[in-house]
Symmetry: C2
Subunit: 301 residues, 2 copies
């Protein structure tokens, strides 16, 4: 998986800070997660090919998470896109985008497919052979979902020396990859594990923004490879976090620890902080693998 941070600040776009947007690449998919104002320019700056984006995930309908979406939809049209585009977002967005297109008398040439979300339970919203995506219900001022991106367990890998020694016909290789025992050319049963190796461990990525501290998500994100958890504030300003239903760096680290993730990425920083080091220092007191999100940063895992 390859994660590119396009923007990781809260509230308002500024000269040197962009609102939330990320690109996650998994198995040839290019998933766009949130789309604050200016995202299309950040996509260009980070050389993400517009046509490869076929799925956009919007956590919630606060402006710093989606005000760049209608512009992106419109730009796709101007670039004569034909590829269909799926948008996963809270209910209401379809009405809004439709109204904007109606007022402009400008309709997309490509299929624009809305998957409107309104469940308070975690749902499977996308699945193919290699990837599945689930919502993560979050606790924010309006209806909000995080998103869990999981690689499926892959096929077993052939141990070619062992396979050739066992004299197995090529026709059985797919069965072997699927984990079955097979017979060799002499009709002798060959145990799968003697000629194959375990598949790569599937990776997973959980995006959780925006949310108050919420232990209910721990079961959903348990053991993920990388967790992005918002930390709008530091502990010193916890009194701002609670009423706005945001988290502190410490709370994000507590969730990472409870969920036993490999690595925590902090983001959605309030623009009140000039130096973001304090976020990392605070989280490191609770959890030992912490990265700070930063526009243009690429994280491969």
């Amino acid at each position: 998986m390859k994660l590119t941070i396009l923007g990781c600040h809260s509230a308002t776009p500024r000269i040197n800070t962009n609102p939330t947007s990320q690109v996650l690449e998994i198995n040839n998919h290019v998933f766009l997660i949130d789309c604050g104002e200016g995202t299309q320019v950040e996509l260009r700056r980070n050389r993400v090919k517009f046509n490869r984006i076929k799925h956009i995930f919007i956590s919630h309908l606060h402006g710093d998470h989606y005000f760049g979406l209608i512009g992106l939809i419109s730009t796709f049209r101007l670039l004569t896109r034909e590829t269909e585009l799926h948008i996963y977002a809270p209910k209401g967005l379809k009405e809004l985008v439709t109204l904007q297109m109606k007022l402009a008398n400008s309709w997309t040439n490509y299929m624009l497919i809305f998957h409107e979300l309104n469940s308070n339970e975690s749902e499977l919203i996308f699945e193919d052979e290699k990837v599945e995506i689930h919502t993560i219900p979050l606790d924010h001022r309006i209806y909000t979902n995080g998103f869990l991106f999981k690689e499926k367990v892959g096929q077993r890998k052939l141990d070619m020396n062992a396979v050739l020694n066992a004299d197995i016909d090529v026709a059985y290789y797919n069965k072997l990859k699927q984990g079955f025992d097979v017979v060799n050319k002499q009709e002798v049963l060959i145990k799968n594990k003697t000629v194959t190796k375990a598949p790569n461990l599937p990776k997973s990525y959980a995006f959780c923004s925006d949310t108050a501290y919420n232990e209910a998500i721990v079961n959903i994100i348990k053991g993920v490879t990388v967790l992005y958890h918002e930390s709008t504030f530091i502990e010193k300003n916890e009194k701002l976090a609670a009423p706005t239903k945001h988290s502190t760096a410490k709370q994000a680290a507590q969730i990472a620890k409870l969920a036993e993730v490999d690595t925590l990425i902090l983001g959605h920083f309030s623009t009140r902080y000039d130096d973001l080091k304090v976020f990392k220092e605070e989280a490191l007191t609770i959890f030992n693998s912490v990265l700070l999100a930063e526009a243009g940063k690429v994280i491969e895992f």
Copy 2:
């Protein structure tokens, strides 16, 4: 008047080009004209104080002219603005902004006053002691207005030497500025023109974007000091201009010539042109005072 160009390209925001937005300062007013995506960042870059903007004029509801507006409205709220904000825009924008606020459950603390436009005739939409603003109906694919900003003729100026020599009481100075004849302390009638000078010539600015070539606007903008007229294309690509209801640089210059304006500013350039010099060269063949719009450019007149 002081005009600051924030963005002057058509269609989509890119790394080095911004969609349409301008700031016009007249007599302590700071008028924002159009508001493409990214405008709030350009306002910051050009150090325009957010709180001084009390009137926003939106020409039409194509995205490159207003997709930055909802973000700006939202940022004003986050900055705890209390000053009222007037928005002059085609009918439909109020419904859209209201829906966006409803979906975010975020309402402005300040008064947000929509002046929805739907007339096809030029209308007076703003007036105070020193300034008046009229719409300029344009010919585009959807309902579109340009805006004409006119200083009113100011008061006559006292020729203080002449006033003192004529022995006129201070109580009459305002009457003199208003152009009346007055009596002096000896009850002798003093002709106004013998003790006052003509007021400064009022300046005017016409913003015309987006529009096909349209001579119907000439009467409205006759003799303005500065005309901003869109020139999305050059003459070589006129076949693109007509169906999209845009203008070429040559057509913009023809309008400037017919309207006998002092200076023409070209803008709303298609991003297909790397070098904008051709726009100026083309317009100069028709009209002799031509400027190219450019993000960050300040034009005082």
